[in-house]
């Protein structure tokens, strides 16, 4: 069982988390024309990298949505950080 670091709660077992999406995609502006290809790529095209992958995960108990970098081969977690722009106290 893997352990992931929630930026809010710290290290927790993987079953407390849900995978959300690969990081780095931006939703096309749908008020403008969006081509079929562009929409398909946004919805379905995944990089599925062998190695380092940047992903959006959700920690279910606290509902924090965060960015995690991990290696899909070694299962090593490289970093995790909150999505919000900056943390204002």
């Amino acid at each position: 069982m893997q352990r992931f670091p929630c930026p809010f709660c710290g290290l927790r077992d993987e079953r407390e988390f849900h995978f959300s999406a690969e990081a780095g995609k931006t939703r096309p502006d749908t008020t403008q024309d969006v081509s079929e290809t562009e929409w398909r790529d946004y919805l379905y095209a995944q990089a599925n990298p062998v190695g380092v992958s940047e992903e959006i995960w959700v920690h279910i108990p606290c509902r924090e949505v965060f960015l995690m970098k991990r290696n899909t081969v070694t299962m090593e977690v490289l970093s995790s950080r909150a999505l919000r722009k900056e943390h204002t106290p």
Binding site: M1, Q2, V58, M75, R84, K85
Partner: protein
């Protein structure tokens, strides 16, 4: 009668006697015995039958590497199949039976199968039974396959405890190296856990007279004391059966035959693997005859259990450490011939028991043959952790090589077989020092397999894989080890090839003229030893398997004799007053339509969305335009997936400028909260929008029906309930007994309804007052079954029942936002795809049956055409007998359904054909006069 109990020695308590039976015969043993050692002490040889040929088998070894003796055991009410005799501790009153044999292992009627071995070679069922049809033979072969049998049902009130744990250092293996490492590390201040699968620590130490110059028992007691004194923990009868992702170690602890084992998920910072080594079997003619054993097994039976496996033994050993074990056995009184076969192929004589050993022209009379072709470090955990293996050509064995920094192998597991070397290594590794140089030499020279003979030479004892099978596989080009394994089933027995794999690899290497490492190994997977599935299940069973959400009004429902059932993850009243579900539901429907029905709608989603960006946010989340919604008003709408499919329907109320309540379906609350949080945090400024699920904070009592207003009026909520002042789809805040109450005028029934939500503390009072107010008007509680009918009469849909993963809002008659909404919203682009624009989309329709016909079956196909051209064009999603309309009603998804309204359609279900007419979804009060009353 060959084996016998030694007068002294071993870790058994000779002062107490335990009685047991094996295959119906009574025997006795002592505490400390395993079933295998007790049977040997009673002179029993044949303890099982092999899987395929039903050859007689005795134990090959004394611990988990024995593949032969597998028993079904009953003790009192507890029955367990497939217990390895060599690792099952003897308990008084056990009844054991060998698996895969009838009537007993000694006299198995299927032993005749062995005569047909020529026809049962590797892959025989691919060759023998293909003509005329494999399926003719399959049932018989399947029946003959398999080992132990289940008896009785599951054990009630018996479940595994599961724990989480952590430590600085986990030492796996309580032999000499493990004990020394654990004691040293604990004294250096580390939190240490030592696990060992035996009930008594010491590993192979009991085979020697002394350790480090001290008597064995004294030395072990001293180390145990050191570990405990320094705060270390020792878990005996505990197997580290697997290492999983991120260094989690699975530990299985036995608690006796009648108790379930417990699971510990251990997270150590570091792990020392002191798991020891196994004897590698020697491949020679008839090497499966009962009485051919591992040398180490015989030494272990003598040292740990005080049992001699025979009186006169021949030993063939190919490594340097055998001397020690031979001298120990001689000290115990065994008469031993050490045999050096040189190039000759030895052959064990005898059929049901060894009577001698033939080596070339020489015949040795003996009752036991002990062999060891070298020692094999137990490297399973190393491989689980992702470590690599090296081939040590001197030891002729795989040893741990490069691996993760947190795991270290010591002692025999690392190829350090000498006791003093292992002690020095354990001390060094436990303190983080460099591994010292080994002083003693160890060298193994296993004799190569003798190929091309007509003799039967066993490699996998349990699965009856012989050298000839490996040769056959090589001839047929199954030379990769993974192919060899699957073609011959080598290593696929319950011992997972602990003994047989290396013998098989060396045979394949010899066949191809390669070295063993060039042939490679198969994958080592957890669990290391079989563990019961119960271990993984633990308390996840029955009610706890999928815990239901409970209503705070459950006592009130139960008091009213509600039939409680699961509805969307909640335990809710199905109907009231007991009795038949259909009759009760019909009675409740009629009541709701004539006076009023009162129901507990607490699970209905109540998710508050607040903040300066809340309006923009919900407008983006909803398919419908929400931005134009005025405070105090409610709107019905859909949430979609990005592909445009309907995910949820429900209403949204606007409390004020920056505050909304999202009222999603009862079963979708968690999903909708996740969806909202995802969009809130990923793509928006989370400091300007807040999402707060208050579903369980605001229980809801709903009153629906012509008398609903009169009933609510008696509650004195301080709200003007007149139809002019409080219209359908409006929202009001009031007070009930001094507490806030939120009233929404929305309807899931088609009649005037008031959804009243109040704090949990007032819920019982509000429910009670509402029921009390309704009683004089002949109104009362209704359950979910009645509600399902009421909503279907109006054509109100349930997402997931009346829709599927392809349904889009325009399939349900809600097409306007798709065409008109200007702002971006979730699913907008998905609604404009080619698929979304197809004309033959399945749309929601109503179905009516001819006068007097029965209701349609739910799930029935709607079909067009006939014969060859008959196609399913849709299916029935909801179907009820409507008590209001006095006829059956149904909802269905039908291709081009909206355009075919009024048409007749064929309905097909389980061979039966019916007719129905396509009608509007709303079959009751289509003008909505009652709704707006």
């Amino acid at each position: 009668m060959t084996g016998f109990r030694l007068g002294t020695g071993g870790r058994i308590d000779r002062s107490r006697v335990l009685n047991f039976t094996f295959d119906g015969t009574r025997y006795s043993g002592h505490p400390g015995d395993t079933l295998a050692s007790a049977l040997i002490a009673n002179g029993v040889r044949i303890m099982g039958r092999s899987f395929k040929y039903h050859r007689p088998r005795s134990v090959w070894s004394a611990w988990f590497d024995d593949p032969n003796a597998i028993f079904n055991i009953r003790l009192g009410d507890v029955h367990r199949p497939n217990c390895p005799a060599a690792t099952t501790l003897l308990e008084d009153g056990m009844h054991a039976r060998a698996v895969n044999s009838f009537p007993s292992a000694a006299r198995d009627i299927k032993s005749v199968l062995d005569l047909g071995h020529r026809f049962l070679s590797a892959g025989f069922y691919y060759k023998m039974f293909m003509w005329p049809d494999w399926h003719l033979f399959e049932p018989t072969i399947r029946k003959m396959a398999g080992l132990g049998a289940l008896e009785g049902g599951p054990l009630e009130d018996s479940h595994s405890t599961q724990r989480f744990d952590h430590c600085d250092l986990l030492v796996v293996g309580g032999g000499v190296a493990g004990l020394q490492a654990a004691a040293t590390a604990a004294e250096a201040g580390q939190s240490v856990v030592l696990v060992d699968d035996h009930a008594e620590l010491g590993g192979k130490a009991w085979q020697s007279p002394t350790v480090d110059g001290h008597p064995v028992a004294d030395w072990i007691a001293e180390q145990t004391k050191r570990i405990s004194a320094a705060g270390g923990r020792i878990l005996t009868r505990t197997t580290a059966f697997g290492i999983y992702d991120h260094a989690m170690v699975g530990l299985c602890t036995e608690h006796g035959f009648c108790e379930q084992p417990s699971l510990t998920r251990m997270r150590p910072e570091k792990l020392i693997m002191a798991t020891g080594a196994l004897d590698r079997p020697l491949t020679f003619a008839q090497n499966d005859v009962p009485g051919v054993m591992s040398l180490d097994g015989a030494a272990e039976f003598a040292g740990r259990y005080g049992v001699a496996v025979g009186r006169r033994a021949c030993v063939i050993a190919d490594h340097g450490l055998a001397e020690q074990q031979i001298s120990t056995l001689r000290d115990e009184g065994l008469d031993i011939d050490v045999v050096e076969p040189k190039d000759a192929l030895p052959k064990a004589m005898g059929r049901r028991a060894v009577t001698g050993l033939q080596v070339g022209p020489h015949h040795f009379t003996c009752d036991t043959v002990l062999t060891s072709a070298g020692l094999m470090p137990i490297v399973h955990l190393w491989r689980h952790a992702g470590g690599k293996l090296d081939w040590d050509s001197n030891a002729q064995a795989f040893v741990p090589a490069a691996g993760p920094a947190w795991i270290t192998a010591i002692g025999a597991a690392a190829g350090t077989f000498d006791l003093d070397d292992a002690l020095a290594e354990a001390t060094a590794v436990a303190t983080g020092a460099a591994r010292p140089r080994r002083k003693a030499d160890y060298c193994a020279r296993p004799r190569p397999a003798v190929l091309g003979t007509s003799q039967r030479q066993w490699i996998d004892f349990q699965h009856d894989v012989t050298l000839k099978d490996v040769e056959l596989a090589a001839r047929e080009n199954y030379v990769s080890v993974e192919h060899l394994k699957r073609y011959t089933t080598l290593g696929m027995a319950s011992d997972q090839g602990k003994t047989s794999n290396v013998a098989g690899l060396s045979a394949m290497a010899a066949l191809q003229g390669k070295e063993i490492p060039e042939v490679g190994t198969t994958t080592f997977r957890p669990p290391f030893v079989p563990v019961p599935l119960e271990l993984y299940r633990g308390h996840h069973r029955g009610e706890l398997f999928h815990p239901l959400k409970r209503l705070c009004l459950e006592p009130q429902h139960r008091a009213a004799d509600a039939a409680m059932g699961e509805y969307g993850g909640w335990l809710r009243p199905g109907w009231y007053g007991g009795g038949d579900a259909d009759q009760a539901a019909a009675r409740e429907v009629r009541m709701a339509r004539t006076t009023a029905g009162i129901f507990d709608a607490s699970p209905l989603g109540k998710i508050e969305v607040m903040g300066p960006d809340a309006e923009k946010f919900v407008n983006f989340i909803y398919y419908n335009t929400v931005a134009t919604l005025k405070p105090g008003h409610i709107r019905y709408g859909f949430m979609l997936t990005e592909s445009g499919a309907v995910y949820d329907d429900g209403v949204i109320a606007r409390l004020d400028e920056n505050r909304f309540v999202v009222s999603c379906s009862s079963s979708h609350v968690d999903g909708v909260v996740s969806l909202l949080e995802n969009w809130r945090q990923d793509g928006n400024d989370p400091d300007r929008i807040f999402v707060h699920d208050t579903t369980q904070n605001w229980p809801t009592v709903t009153v629906t029906g012509p008398k609903a207003r009169d009933i609510v009026a008696t509650l004195n909520l301080g709200i003007d309930l007149s139809p002019e002042q409080f219209k359908h789809m409006q929202f009001r805040a009031g007070q009930f007994q001094g507490a806030p109450v939120r009233v929404a005028r929305v309807s899931f029934t088609g009649d005037v309804s008031f959804e009243m939500s109040c704090p949990v503390a007032q819920a019982a009072a509000l429910w009670g007052a509402t029921i009390e107010a309704g009683a004089p008007m002949s109104a009362g509680a209704i359950g979910l079954e009645a509600l399902s009918i009421l909503r279907a009469e109006k054509g109100f849909l349930i997402i997931g029942k009346d829709t599927d993963g392809e349904t889009m809002p325009h399939d349900l008659g809600f097409g306007i936002p798709r065409l008109k909404k200007k702002a971006a919203f979730v699913g907008d682009r998905g609604l404009q795809t080619q698929k979304a624009n197809e004309t033959n989309r399945r749309q929601l329709v109503g179905l009516a049956v001819p006068e007097g016909a029965a209701m349609l079956p739910c799930g029935a196909h709607l079909v067009s055409g006939s014969g060859e051209t008959r196609r399913s064009v849709g299916f029935v999603t909801s179907s009820y007998d409507s008590p209001t309309l006095n006829r059956p009603i149904a909802l269905a998804l039908l291709s081009q359904g909206l355009a075919t309204e009024g048409n007749a359609i064929d309905v097909y279900h389980l061979g039966e054909k019916r007719r129905a007419r396509v009608v509007p979804t709303c079959q009751f009060d289509p003008e909505g006069e009652r709704l707006n009353a």
